[in-house]
């Protein structure tokens, strides 16, 4: 990161400021975002939209994965639909959301869910299918209730997959949310980026991009912390430690 900042600063000496603004100028714009309540709220609004969209996609994707795991007939119909969905660009969902829905927040939520849902479903289904049959039979030999089976075997076995799916989809969601906020949002990182483009403010554009990147890094770190705590049982090879 430091290397990138140095390279950028050097480039700013050779190119006009509207192309390569200085690092201090970017830093100043970044700080301004959090000094003003309005712009700070824009940053938090985007973070909230990402988390809400991911939560919605996770719940729906998890439900779909559970249905696909239980019923091969359902899977036969759902799998191609989800694969088809994966090929739809985020921008197409923006157009569809604008035509279909009136509320801006719901439009954004819809776009976030539609773009991240297939990955959640496929990853959760894979995590479920990867549960060792040996462990499954061993647990069944104690005749657990459905809830106990879920609590003692399925949940801990799929947890690593769930955490990975969140990490992967967080990156996707941060890219999609900017596009989703073009559906008429009057706040948020996407809206602010559009404003910077209109006034040709490169420092502002980079500052808002950094806001989004920092948000992703913070959430990634939180997921990693959960991972360290929840998956501490895993053996670590000295060669890889």
């Amino acid at each position: 990161m430091a290397g990138l900042a140095v390279a950028w600063q050097i480039a700013s000496y050779f190119f006009p400021n509207f192309l390569f603004p200085t690092v201090p100028a970017i830093a100043e714009r970044f700080l301004e975002i959090f000094v003003s309540l309005d712009t700070a709220l824009d940053a938090f609004a985007t973070g909230g939209r990402i988390l809400l969209g991911l939560a919605g996609a996770f719940v729906l994707g998890g439900a779909l994965a559970a249905l696909m795991a239980q019923s091969s007939v359902f899977e036969r119909y759902a799998y191609p639909l989800l694969s088809f969905n994966q090929g739809i660009p985020a921008l197409s969902w923006v157009v569809i959301a604008i035509i279909w829905f009136r509320g801006i927040e719901f439009r954004i939520f819809f776009i976030m869910v539609m773009t991240t849902l297939p990955a959640f479903t496929f990853q959760l289904l894979d995590a479920y299918r990867a549960i060792s049959n040996d462990l499954y039979e061993m647990t069944l030999s104690f005749r657990p209730s459905r809830f106990d089976l879920l609590r003692t075997l399925i949940w801990p076995a799929v947890l690593p997959g769930i955490l990975t799916s969140w990490k992967v989809n967080l990156g996707n969601a941060s890219r999609v949310v900017v596009v989703a906020e073009l559906v008429g949002a009057t706040g948020g990182v996407g809206y602010q980026l559009l404003l910077q483009q209109q006034v040709f403010d490169m420092a502002g554009a980079i500052a808002w991009t950094i806001v989004l990147v920092i948000f992703v890094l913070i959430v990634q770190s939180l997921i990693t912390l959960i991972e360290i705590h929840a998956l501490s049982y895993r053996a670590v090879s000295e060669r890889h430690s």
């Binding site: 040996d134 462990l135 030999s141 104690f142 005749r143 801990p156 049982y233």
Partner: protein
């Protein structure tokens, strides 16, 4: 003649599975198998790989349903009345099947926890089993930190901890070195004698079956009995040698 009802009974049981090749047909893993096991009896089932020993085992434990015939355990259908057998059947598998996210203590605790036993009571039981099996200082270790022998001892403790009336063992020592297997086998026999559980012990080792004592049956593919013998404590070495020869013949047939 024993007038007591059998604890486990197979009545002309057949179990077929679909073939995995493109023929679309089925094959019989168990065909027309009948036998009975009395309460408190130790039965060793011997046979070559693929002779249907494990399918027989899974039919008794209620994990599989017979294609035809009837399996009864304590006069009930273990597949249809699966939940009724909670805490009645303990299983020691060929591999330890420990949950990697649970410590040795929590793995032994699993069956008791699923039986809704109070936490204090189960902690007491688990601690006593860990101590009996020489794992007192390893209760907080995760499975990856235990040796193969220790892991298998955890799985034995897990099966015994629920005080099962029936114990099913599927080649539990086959993945261990001879020294560890011998030590565990001795320990296992003592535990079995103490608990008085009915036990079915699947093995491919003639010596293991002879060491365990009790009754033994040799299976031929698809699971049918080709030799049966009962071992007594007062058998001479010559008698044992005859049994050994007969088992070898049956296995070679």
């Amino acid at each position: 003649m024993n007038e007591e009802a059998p604890e486990i009974e197979f009545d002309r049981v057949t179990k077929s599975f679909p073939r995995t090749d493109e023929s679309g047909g089925t094959f019989d893993a168990v065909r027309d198998l009948s036998f009975a096991v009395r309460r408190g009896e130790l039965l060793a089932i011997l046979g070559r790989t693929g002779c249907g020993k494990s399918t027989t085992f899974n039919l008794i434990s209620g994990l599989l349903r017979p294609t035809s015939g009837r399996v009864t355990v304590q006069d009930r259908d273990p597949f249809m009345q699966f939940a009724w057998f909670r805490s009645k059947i303990g299983i020691v598998f060929q591999n330890d099947r420990l949950m990697p996210w649970r410590t040795a203590f929590q793995n032994v605790e699993l069956g008791l926890e699923l039986n809704k036993m109070e936490k204090d009571k189960r902690a007491e039981i688990v601690a006593s089993w860990l101590a009996r099996l020489g794992l007192k200082d390893h209760g907080n270790d995760f499975p990856h930190a235990l040796s193969g022998g220790m892991r298998q001892r955890v799985s034995i403790a897990r099966a015994f901890a629920i005080k099962p009336e029936i114990l099913l063992c599927d080649e539990p020592f086959s993945a261990l070195d001879e020294h560890t297997a011998n030590a565990l086998r001795d320990q296992f026999r003592v535990l079995l004698a103490e608990t008085k559980a009915t036990a079915i012990f699947i093995t491919h080792s003639i010596e293991e079956a002879l060491k365990l004592g009790g009754r033994l049956m040799v299976f031929e593919r698809p699971a049918r009995i080709v030799y049966e013998a009962r071992l007594h404590a007062d058998m001479t070495e010559r008698d044992r040698e005859d049994v050994r020869i007969n088992i070898r013949r049956a296995l070679a047939a």
